[in-house]
Symmetry: C2
């Protein structure tokens, strides 16, 4: 009842707030309601694992997140179905290598059914595009994306008890006109194949007779828009392809080739350490790759790319091929789901008004903005559960984890720590709950580490400006002051394969031990509820990131901000990427592709 009072207080405050309608109310009938479950108190589902029928677990997507989830899932416990428009998993970090034939497409893909075959009970796989998620009726609507000679056009719907959304993202064009029509993206295997064909097209077109030199130059101008890791790696691969292979086969036009890399910001590879950025920029300059920073592309036509810069104004760049790689955007189906969740919450708020004073309810008020309003991607809690949406989990590029802020929960944290209800905390009381707090709010540990503090005493000392004794009593005001800065350490996870894979593995383990953890929760203390969380929250372990720069040189930013650049790092890259392959088959193929490239070079046939 304490919690009811606590949340009701927040609810009343919200009602007084003139922006109430920007807020939504989540209602959870304690003891197992049917409508919706609140955020913190709800990673206990109403589902009974003892039920005779297996729970329906539906997975959307077979990318890094989905495949990692499926590989680690005990598929015998659930009735697992997988829907994806691709019946294979692709090792996307090698996509830039495919654009130039350093590695063949089939060497980096593995059929999902083959991955599933290793399970005692394989998941059912449907090759189809999911075009609508209906969280109210717990079902998804799908459509076969292959051909039309099926009765009913290959449309079907699937029900679920748990839905795992791992659909990834699409390329973000920032609504720049002409981009979808004239630029290549680099997200799928097919994109990489198209780019490879297109590169050869440009060389063949430039070799035709009766062309002006200007026209030849235009066709051999390769423009990459976006100076992130993908764009940079593609530029490097293309440069190697041209220098090592094509220059020999097209001797007459080799000197007309130009590669330009356009970046809206001041530098390329900004997510890396400055030393890597600088090395990359210098190497590209030596290689003759034209890095144009501070240029924003405003329009693309079939003839030219138009970009602006404060100094030059609009500039037209004639081009032969353009690759757009400026980051990721949200898929329409995810946007639609986010909109629906907003609506669902709004409807519940009316329910709440009706039920408000009559029954025992736990009310959680969350700003729509915090929920799903103006986000790029689906917001989830630290257990990868979509905020405001029952039984839906989201991971990978289509989702982002919303780390609870300490300051949002500071009152509740204080109350949990204040075991004797004295209204003040002793250092011992704080230390007793510190592990749970750090587990629930990892920004606390990060803050301590950043400030090179040993423990919470140093934190109190900093805010008090004096030595803090073990015996000191701290009230809520001083507690707030001490923790005021920790939320600055809340970090968004990058949209990388590494994050997605770890999320998939984490979520699979949660599903595997769901029954066990329902009985013996292993997570941290609930701050805004009773007992413990069922699972430990997801924690990302950064293992480092590579930036191949061509010419058998790679830069790497390894854990602990260790920087490594050069030929030896390229060999590290080879060994890491070989070892990370999803099967022995792809490992063998990727390595033999590399060998083939060393011996015979890359193939320049236009298929």
């Amino acid at each position: 009842m304490r919690y009811t009072a606590f949340f009701s207080e927040r609810a009343m405050r919200a009602l007084r707030n003139p922006g109430f309608y920007k807020f939504a109310v989540l209602v959870a009938v304690s003891g197992g309601g049917v409508v919706a479950y609140a955020d913190a108190g709800s990673d206990h589902g109403p589902e009974n694992m003892q039920a005779a029928a297996k729970k329906k677990l539906l997975v959307l997507g077979t990318g890094w997140a989905g495949t990692s989830f499926l590989k680690n899932l005990d598929t015998s416990v659930y009735d697992v179905r997988v829907v994806s428009p691709r019946n294979y998993f692709a090792f996307t970090p090698l996509l830039p290598s495919i654009t130039c034939g350093t590695v063949e497409p089939r060497s980096i893909i593995e059929p999902i059914r083959k991955i599933m075959k290793k399970k005692s009970v394989p998941a059912k796989f449907y090759e189809a595009e999911c075009y609508k998620i209906d969280p109210t009726n717990k079902k998804v609507l799908c459509r076969s994306n292959i051909g039309t000679n099926l009765d009913g056009n290959g449309e079907f719907d699937l029900e679920y008890d748990y839905l795992v959304v791992a659909m990834g993202a699409r390329s973000n064009t920032f609504n720049t006109p002409g981009v979808p029509e004239h630029c290549h993206f680099l997200k799928e295997i097919e994109d990489a194949q198209r780019i490879r064909r297109s590169v050869m097209n440009c060389f063949e077109k430039a070799s035709l007779p009766n062309l002006s030199e200007e026209e030849r130059r235009k066709n051999l101008h390769f423009v990459i828009i976006g100076g992130g890791p993908t764009g940079v790696e593609f530029a490097a691969e293309l440069h190697d392809f041209v220098r090592e292979d094509l220059a020999k086969l097209y001797p007459n036009i080799r000197d007309l080739v130009k590669i330009s890399l356009i970046e809206a910001g001041g530098h390329i590879l900004t997510m890396f350490d400055k030393r890597i950025t600088q090395f990359a920029e210098e190497k590209f300059q030596r290689d003759g790759i034209d890095v144009k920073t501070n240029f924003k592309v405003v329009r693309v036509t079939d003839k030219a790319i138009t970009m602006t810069n404060p100094d030059t104004g609009e500039v037209n760049l004639p081009y032969g091929m353009a690759v757009w790689s400026t980051g990721i955007g949200t898929r329409p189906i995810i946007l639609d789901l986010m909109k629906q969740i907003g609506q669902v919450i709004h409807e519940i708020s009316i329910l709440y008004l009706l039920w408000f004073l009559k029954i025992d309810v736990i009310i959680v008020l969350l700003s729509l903005d915090v929920l799903q309003g103006d986000r790029r991607v689906l917001a989830t809690d630290e257990w990868l559960r979509v905020l405001g949406c029952e039984s839906i989990y989201a991971l990978g590029d289509c989702a982002t984890i919303t780390q609870r802020k300490v300051m949002e929960d500071i009152m509740a944290i204080f109350k949990v720590a204040d075991k004797d209800n004295s209204g003040t905390l002793t250092v011992k009381e704080i230390k007793d709950v510190l592990d749970d707090i750090i587990e629930r709010y990892p920004q606390v540990a990060l803050y301590l580490k950043t400030k090179q503090m040993k423990d919470i005493l140093d934190l109190l000392k900093e805010s008090e400006g004096d030595v803090v004794k073990e015996s000191v009593e701290i009230d809520i005001k001083r507690f707030k002051k001490a923790l005021a800065q920790v939320d600055s350490q809340v970090k968004m996870l990058p949209a990388t394969a590494q994050v997605a894979a770890q999320e998939g593995e984490y979520l699979a383990r949660c599903f595997n031990k769901m029954k066990k953890c329902d009985e013996n929760p292993e997570g941290p203390l609930r701050i805004r509820g009773t007992g413990r969380h069922r699972f430990k929250p997801f924690r990302y372990r950064h293992l480092g990131q590579f930036a191949p720069l061509g010419g058998e040189q790679t830069a790497a930013q390894l854990p602990g901000d260790w920087i490594s650049i050069g030929h030896s790092t390229q060999w590290l890259w080879y060994s890491v990427y070989a070892s990370k392959q999803v099967s022995w088959r792809t490992r063998f193929l990727v390595v033999s592709d590399w060998m083939r490239r060393f011996i015979f070079g890359r193939d320049s046939s236009r298929i």
Copy 2:
């Protein structure tokens, strides 16, 4: 003058013939006219190899014939240009292996530029589609087949002194409605890739939920139309793919798969020995491949294939995927060239009427039918020169060699042999010219071999019905009678890679020694002219033919009608196909593809 009289006689006969307008007149001004050159007397061109500028040699096509020609050509002697819509050579006998992923597409293709790079003076290559040959102005019109953002849409024309047409053929649909829209062909790399995708599509479609079993069966019904080597090999490959790989990945639908092979004739593989046909039919029956002989496909829609049989009438066959492989047809550009050549001859016939009695002309009358009229493909002489067309050579599937008949030239042969102009031939006189006759008319040797005769004496004996003495004198009537049957041994060459490759090599050697042979002709005596032919005529050496039947079993028909069937022949197949690869790169890749398939199976990803 002797020849004038001889040909004039034929001309007069033609003029008396009421079907004259179906005939055309070829005029060759002796001593080097500019208009046209007659058939037999014209493999001396007017071209002077001493000229400062190199002769322009234009090659259309980079298939078996074109590539074999280019590989063997001394490219430093001519100004060589190559036009082809594909910048690579494909080892087409392995196309059926690509449809199921036994071999990867890039393992059997080699860029033309890479093949050219080994030459001291590489040929210029243009990736474009030639859409018109203009023999009057000695030029070809081409169009880039890649993209449209070139000024002038990538159209250009090229002039030539010699034109080598090696454009291959297209699939022959026999104008069956619905075939181009709904059936796959199997001629190009892209066809094989599409088939592979389509096979996987069918399996994925059949795996979707909510389908009736009938619908699943329909989607898993693979129909191959045409029981030739390609169709049979594809059926065998597909059967292996399903049995060895897909059955494990799609266990629920494995029993619904059906493969049907439809053949209009009474048997499959009719070009092979009966033992092979029988073995193949029995093996397919054991494998469950439904071989439907004596069925003619009359219509294909998106739902079903309609075929007829005298016993059953029209039968509808619902299908998931259909592959059409019933032989080859003529490309429109070749048809157009054939039509043009007819017109050119017609125009010359007017010239002939004007010049008829005024100057010394050699007139050759050839039926339009014999020339290019109702042929499937371009007719060439035994030196691969297009009949009735100056400076154009044709080889491979787009051409066929018209072997001169002995009986057409019997008068001339008699005159050449009759050195003393006695009006009769002695056996010695015949023996003196026999080697030349056999070289020019290989059917003579074939006939002797078939009849198990040792020499021409046996032939005379057969027609005389008595022993022929060396001293006997033979007049034209008895000579005609003796040779009356030999033309029955004139054989059309099959449209195979082997023929095309040998033709390419032969023609390249002719071009390489053209200067030398202009001075010292090495060919047989001219029958209807003076001196010798410049080159020996093309002679095909049959090295045998394989018919892979799946399950690691292959049938082979080797030279001398030696038949070999079974697992050991499969290993022969492996070694022959590995050794025949165009480069060490493709050899390495094909062998490693085979190894990969043995170890890991075929990939079932739908890309």
